[in-house]
Symmetry: C2
Subunit: 266 residues, 2 copies
């Protein structure tokens, strides 16, 4: 059995028409699938209304008590349930989950070193059994980036991390493909030109590209994470635009596929 | 198999210590169980902060688009997930659900007659199969009063109604007891005195009590609903204080138990 894990973020969620288009594509996406969604700008918008100013360090939100309540409301409540209801209308048996639900994802509050991230959780354990049971009931899990420490505390976790950790844990038992929907069409040679997609990257190509300084620095952590997932048994990682997801599912050229080195070529 | 459905509302949810006490009691409550929770004052509080003024008619909230988003955030997000995380810390495998999740509860937007209730849904269908599968996985479903119309629209539904409709639908297959946690100790002869509980009401006693004008008018709809649930096969309905729930589970005197007429007495 192949499981596809698809992650969307603000570049889809923040635009109602784009989200609708994506959900329609997702409903046609073949096989067993899991959706992981981030939060987008909605949390910041509601936060402003109630006087919470987003506090970001290195692109990560510092999560104080009020911010945690806010993201729990917006991610687990508003966004998650609107996505689930829409998918239900598309005859997809979606079921929304945080990491607390069914103890899906246990995390630990990040220790304070130089920065106190507040109520931010680093993933420690994924309940593969629950996901497996849901998938076998033809349920489409819709997972938002709120986890818990099993001691009663909800925690805010990065959605990319959740997608990767789900993938590597499920990869112990299943063939898993991981799709990151992205603002750009894939990994680009010229980051301002969607026509310069690198269609496939393996370890060898990646080493070359880094050596020649071709890859935009912002992509390097994403690619490093992708290779880390492959190391842990994920079949492939895809990075591209949400609207090209069906092409990707059909194995057609679209976005960038990151694969393990094919040693047999040597 | 006996299933206990327990409903809590604002008189528990609005007080953190009471909610903690209740969840600890719930974790000791024997057998298969389902928690249904309402919203309490939190939604109104957040609504005030973002400039939404609660609009109530006959004790029911009029649900415009902004209010629907608000209750989806507060009920399905904040309250539901805090309860789930707390139950997980008490070794209860809780999983939070709206009616949209797994198509648990399909409702229809209430038709406009004299009052336009807005995005309020009347329950049409309950997915007994999903509940059954979750209970057999030793999952404790935690259900909030948001439903959907299966056409992509979330709807706001009364939590008492959800508890009753779950009970009557599950009663077709299982023995179901329905517990309403209430501000008062039960159905009282003197509504200001918790020591005047009527321990048991059946149809015969109910007819007498109504004839003698003993029952406070506010209780009559609750009792009518309880008898309607019994008519549809629910084993018994209990009304009492959350803190007496364990006594009730042990069959000890506490609150008011509403039972069907025992015709064999005649």
């Amino acid at each position: 059995m192949t499981i596809s894990i698809i992650k969307i973020g603000g570049n889809v969620i923040d635009f109602p028409e784009k989200l609708d288009e994506f959900l329609s594509i997702l409903s046609k996406f073949p096989g067993k699938k899991i959706l992981v969604h981030g939060g987008g700008i909605l949390a910041s918008k509601f936060g402003e209304k109630i006087g919470i100013i987003p506090n970001m360090v290195d692109g990560r939100r510092i999560t104080d008590k009020e911010t945690l309540d806010l993201v729990t409301m917006v991610y687990a409540g508003l966004i998650n349930k609107q996505i689930v209801a829409k998918l239900q209308s598309l005859k997809q048996n979606a079921l929304g989950l945080t990491g607390a639900d069914g103890n899906l994802i246990r995390s630990e509050k990040r220790p304070v070193k130089t920065i106190d991230y507040g109520f931010v959780g680093d993933v420690k354990e994924v309940n593969v059994d629950l996901i497996e049971k849901l998938l076998f009931q033809d349920i489409l899990p819709v997972i938002c980036p709120i986890t818990h420490d099993k001691k009663g505390q909800l925690l805010n976790t990065n959605a990319d991390t959740i997608a990767s950790d789900l993938a590597t844990n499920l990869a112990k038992k299943f063939k898993v493909n991981l799709y990151f929907c992205f603002a750009k069409a894939g990994v680009l040679i010229d980051e301002h030109n969607d026509n310069t997609i690198i269609p496939m990257i393996n370890e060898e190509i990646y080493a070359e590209l880094k050596k020649e300084n071709v890859i935009h620095s912002g992509m390097i952590p994403k690619l490093d994470n992708a290779f880390a997932a492959l190391e842990k048994g994920v079949n492939f990682v895809w990075i591209g635009k949400a609207e090209n997801l069906l092409l990707a599912a059909k194995g057609k050229l679209s976005g960038t596929t990151i694969e393990k080195q094919k040693y047999d070529l040597y």
